[in-house]
């Protein structure tokens, strides 16, 4: 795990100095994170990196988990999907199961934080233990179009919190409490984003039989209809008519996700209609993803919906020109024509890719701008700073605070 000093060559000494100043202001306060799992999933991934760094900065940070049986997690999975806007049949029994387990957790999870930082809906009911400490609810879900029945149920708890945190402006809701915007981040020192040697990149390309004699267009994402892999192939075929290039569609799919397997098969089938298309089913291998991104000429993220779309930040951090759909958190990462190109359709994506392949200087400038935008706004150090500011904001109601 990287130490805080290792970020200095990337973001500069003064950014790390600021983090230390903020940490000093939090001396004496205990921060307690609570979520439902310590491994797997984005929340655990970010906490596994954040908690040690906060401790290293001197912020007394703890991390506790709630417990729940299979039934409870089946219900919370349904809640999760419903809050994401998927059609789900939710019964009174589901709410009862949620409350039964929540009651046990309310009694059993020891609350030790001056600031209790609750992640996602699973532990939301713990707020019933609120005393004179501060409570924050961190939403990692795209709430732009939630199932109202589930949202109203969850919102009843959230109104008792001091603040709520969302990843993008469109996810905010009408709530009587303060709502803070904190986008997620990438870790520039992780295997997915760290610098790679040419040998490391070449060995991955060799493994997957990818030659570098033609420009490479890549989309990295799991095989899911919402990532529109078929649309990516169509856009590629339109580009291929004019420019000799190749396409990489790479990502994973859960083996227990029948839809993912079906989408992969459809993509393979559609790929038969063109040449130079590499469809790669990757197991979770961060270095391979990193290498494929670094070997690419243009990176696409043609999602139909997107929670935040951190693959865009990953690509921009590698100074790659990106063509991405204008959905979810993507417009926060790309300002059209300045740090990438946004599109709304297959034709639009194809046109943008052609522009970038035909104008390498322009593409290079977009990539460089993108990298600087990510450096200033989407690295883990910014995320740490925002979390510490969030903790401090709980003790101040005014808009301008002198510390």
């Amino acid at each position: 795990m990287a130490k805080i000093e290792e970020y200095i060559p990337i973001v500069g000494q003064s950014i790390i100095d600021d983090l230390k100043l903020l940490a000093e202001k939090l001396k004496g306060r205990v921060i307690q994170h609570i979520n439902s799992t310590s491994v797997g999933g984005g929340v655990a991934e970010i906490l596994n990196r954040m908690v040690p760094l906060l401790r290293e900065l001197g912020v007394d940070t703890r991390w506790d988990l709630i417990k729940g049986g299979e039934q409870f997690f089946e219900v919370t999975k349904k809640f999760h999907n419903a809050l994401h806007g998927r059609a789900e049949a939710i019964s009174q029994r589901d709410f009862d199961i949620f409350m039964e387990t929540s009651r046990i957790n309310i009694n059993e999870v020891a609350i030790s934080g001056d600031i209790v930082f609750v992640h996602d809906p699973q532990p939301v009911a713990l707020i019933k233990n609120k005393s004179d400490n501060k409570w924050v609810w961190r939403c990692h879900i795209d709430l732009s179009n939630p199932n109202q029945k589930v949202w109203r149920f969850i919102a009843d708890f959230i109104t008792d919190y001091d603040s709520a945190v969302f990843s993008a402006p469109a996810f905010s809701q009408m709530l009587p409490i303060r709502q803070i915007l904190i986008p997620p981040s990438i870790d520039p020192l992780s295997d997915k984003n760290r610098d790679l040697s040419d040998e490391e990149i070449d060995s991955v390309l060799k493994k997957y039989n990818i030659a570098t004699d033609k420009p490479i267009i890549t989309q990295i994402s799991r095989f899911d209809r919402l990532k529109d892999p078929l649309g990516v192939i169509e856009a590629y075929l339109k580009v291929k008519k004019y420019i000799d290039c190749q396409l990489i569609l790479a990502g994973g799919t859960a083996t227990d996700d029948p839809e993912g397997i079906a989408v992969l098969e459809e993509a393979k089938d559609k790929a038969k209609s063109g040449r130079d298309i590499h469809i790669l089913l990757l197991s979770q291998n961060d270095i391979e993803i990193n290498a494929l991104q670094r070997a690419s000429t243009v990176i696409i993220q043609k999602s139909i919906r997107e929670g935040f779309g951190l693959t865009v930040a990953e690509a921009l951090w590698k100074a790659k020109p990106v063509v991405a759909s204008n959905v979810g958190g993507i417009p926060l990462q790309i300002k059209h024509k300045y740090s990438g190109l946004l599109c709304h359709s297959i034709d639009g994506a194809a046109f943008a890719i052609k522009q970038l392949l035909n104008s390498p200087e322009y593409a290079k400038k977009l990539g460089e701008n993108g990298r600087e935008h990510i450096r200033s706004n989407f690295l883990l150090t910014r995320h740490l700073r925002d979390y510490m500011l969030l903790f401090l904001s709980l003790y101040h109601k005014e808009d301008l605070v002198y510390l």
């Binding site: 500069g12 000494q13 003064s14 950014i15 100095d17 600021d18 100043l21 903020l22 202001k25 732009s144 969302f166 402006p169 469109a170 905010s172 809701q173 009408m174 709530l175 303060r178 709502q179 803070i180 915007l181 904190i182 204008n326 959905v327 417009p331 300002k335 059209h336 300045y338 740090s339 701008n369 600087e372 935008h373 200033s376 706004n377 700073r385 925002d386 500011l389 969030l390 401090l392 904001s393 808009d399 301008l400 605070v401 002198y402 510390l403």
Partner: protein, 223 residues
């Protein structure tokens, strides 16, 4: 080694860090945008005119504010976008006067182009009003003379430069900044102070501004 005069008062570098608060207010067309620009707190106007610049500093010199970017990029109103982008922010030393100028510019445009009211943004491209929660805190960097000042200036964060240049104008409600004020009052160098306050920070990137100020000071130091 050349001796440089010590300042009467040392210069303590501060920084201003921001957290973005979501207001839940959003606009889909120009009428809604205008209405909300008049109503939202000053910290929201600050966010969309100043914070935007800080977050997207590589875009500089254009577009200098979020309103101009949205109006041109999403609604396709290029002319209004240009008018909003070319508002001379330097002239306005209060957020209130800047807000009035932005509102007047949109109002005037709508009067002459009533059809522009009919343009709506798609749901996922609406303008979301955000406000800045700002935290001002002293850093550990202190300068006692001009060369020391230049050395620190090379390494402090852009947030700190931002605070002392942009923020100072709004805080002091004067056409000056903290650097110039200190150089004039503590080092007695009015000429250097004026050269720095004469730089238009709104049409440069913060890194470029940093380099320019360092260059001006080093030139002075080397005589």
């Amino acid at each position: 080694m050349q001796e440089f005069p010590k300042a009467k008062e040392p210069f303590r570098f501060y920084t201003r860090l921001h957290l973005s608060e979501l207001t839940g207010l959003r606009a889909a067309n120009l009428s809604q945008l205008l209405d909300l620009i008049r109503k939202v707190p000053g910290s929201s106007i600050y966010h969309h005119t100043h914070r935007f610049l800080q977050q997207h500093q590589y875009l500089s010199p254009e577009p200098p504010n979020d309103f101009a970017y949205w109006v041109a990029g999403v609604l396709g109103e290029d002319e209004l976008g240009e008018r909003l982008a070319s508002i001379d922010t330097m002239q306005y030393s209060t957020i209130r006067s800047l807000r009035d100028k932005i509102a007047e510019t949109i109002e005037e445009y709508l009067k002459n182009n009533p059809l522009a009211k009919l343009k709506f943004a798609r749901q996922d491209e609406e303008f979301h009003f955000i406000k800045s929660l700002s935290f001002v805190l002293p850093t550990n960097y202190v300068a006692y003379d001009l060369p020391g000042f230049a050395e620190i200036l090379k390494k402090i964060t852009v947030d700190s430069i931002y605070f002392h240049i942009f923020e100072a104008r709004l805080r002091l409600e004067k056409q000056t900044n903290d650097f110039s004020y200190w150089i004039e009052t503590s080092l007695g160098d009015k000429e250097l102070a004026d050269r720095i306050s004469g730089l238009d920070p709104y049409t440069r990137t913060l890194e470029d501004l940093r380099k320019t100020i360092v260059r001006v000071i080093e030139k002075k130091v080397s005589g």
